[in-house]
Symmetry: C2
Subunit: 237 residues, 2 copies
């Protein structure tokens, strides 16, 4: 059965965590909304509940046979065992899912640095609030999340879970890339404190499927419509 990913076609966003998994595993998937013949209307139809399966609240959404799976971490949990990106034992799968859920919390907080007052307002209408929130994010929240992840890697033989490469390694790569894009000064200042995560990131970057993907037009560049946005006024001084 083919894997169909429904996600916004012009940003990395939360969909990127799913794209990285398929690209790393070398498993074909259709990035539905990037097909000009289908585009965003195909996603909107799913969000309106016009497809069989549980009507999802938000993308990314994976369609696989008659299954419709939403929530980024759950999509990865659903697909990872089948494509070889997580141990098959229940405890190992649970551990990976738990860490991924916490990574998604970090991602949500990174997003809220530029949208603290509301996703339904423009960034330009919440700039002073964004500067306050970004300051706290760089000073307290990002260090708290990354130090916890670093501790997992230090305890886990160089991987966040299971002592082996999983989709969580890919997500560590994506989060570190995103933070470095959004906060070049703030992240660079903190980076020396998480050498284990940096090693994970560099190892992921060199994996054959990921290296090929990053060099391809399938990898959408970071931009200011996504989750990780480079607004210099939000970065550390």
């Amino acid at each position: 059965m083919p894997y169909e990913l429904y996600y916004w076609p012009s940003i990395q966003g939360r969909g990127e965590f799913v794209r990285l998994a398929f690209e790393d595993a070398g498993v074909p998937y259709e990035d539905v909304c990037r097909d000009p013949a289908r585009g965003v209307p195909a996603l909107l139809a799913v969000l309106k509940g016009q497809e069989a399966g549980l009507r999802p609240f938000a993308p990314p959404i994976l369609k696989h046979g008659d299954m419709l799976v939403a929530q980024t971490a759950l999509v990865l949990h659903y697909v990872a065992a089948a494509i070889g990106l997580v141990p098959k034992d229940p405890a190992g799968r649970l551990a990976a899912h738990q860490v991924q859920l916490t990574i998604m919390d970090l991602v949500a907080e990174a997003h809220d640095t530029h949208h603290p007052v509301g996703t339904n307002l423009y960034y330009e209408d919440q700039k002073p609030e964004a500067e306050r929130r970004a300051t706290g994010f760089l000073a307290a929240r990002m260090p708290k999340y990354l130090s916890w992840l670093e501790d997992l890697v230090q305890r886990g033989g160089g991987h966040p879970v299971g002592g082996a490469h999983t989709y969580v390694d890919l997500s560590v790569f994506q989060v570190l890339e995103g933070l470095a894009y959004a906060f070049p000064r703030g992240f660079a200042a903190f980076e020396p404190k998480v050498p284990g995560l940096v090693a994970v990131r560099e190892r992921v970057r060199e994996r054959s499927g990921i290296a090929a993907y990053l060099a391809s037009p399938r990898r959408i560049p970071f931009n200011e419509d996504g989750i990780f946005r480079r607004y210099p006024e939000l970065d550390a001084p």
Copy 2:
């Protein structure tokens, strides 16, 4: 093997979703931090990684044998099949987990109405921002989430998932109670639009385990240290 819940002892918070599941199922659990002999230090030890198992980032945390499970929705996913609160088929479990994850996103946004700038600041230091965020929450985000849940209930024969009582029904009860506590005017104005959710809430309230729990001292009242806080200036006019 006993179930041990590690959560803050003086608030409902995210731990309440787990408490409700055990209370409804009539399954004994130890609310560890409410035992004066153990208290909050027991939670802090787990957070520091001093227990066997995956070191969690934040509570609620469930200890079960040598398993340590964090992330509210994942705790419910882990425990629900064993205590009879979810269908045993994989697709049904996945659907319940997906809906619960989205409910937790709603809960996070409800929290952020009083802490839009940062969890590490006092509410008093972010009141104007909180008023802006609460306005958007009541006008757009709460209606979007609850209308989606209402649609699931309308399609699902009176239940959000699986056409039967699950832990997701309990979470609908908790969210509606919390929103009504935090936003008595704003929620009352919207409530007539979600009759299916209201029916779920009232049915849950009358279940024997839940009714006994709500009448007991084990149910901590809502208060202004929790997720759902009654700040009249954040409510609708």
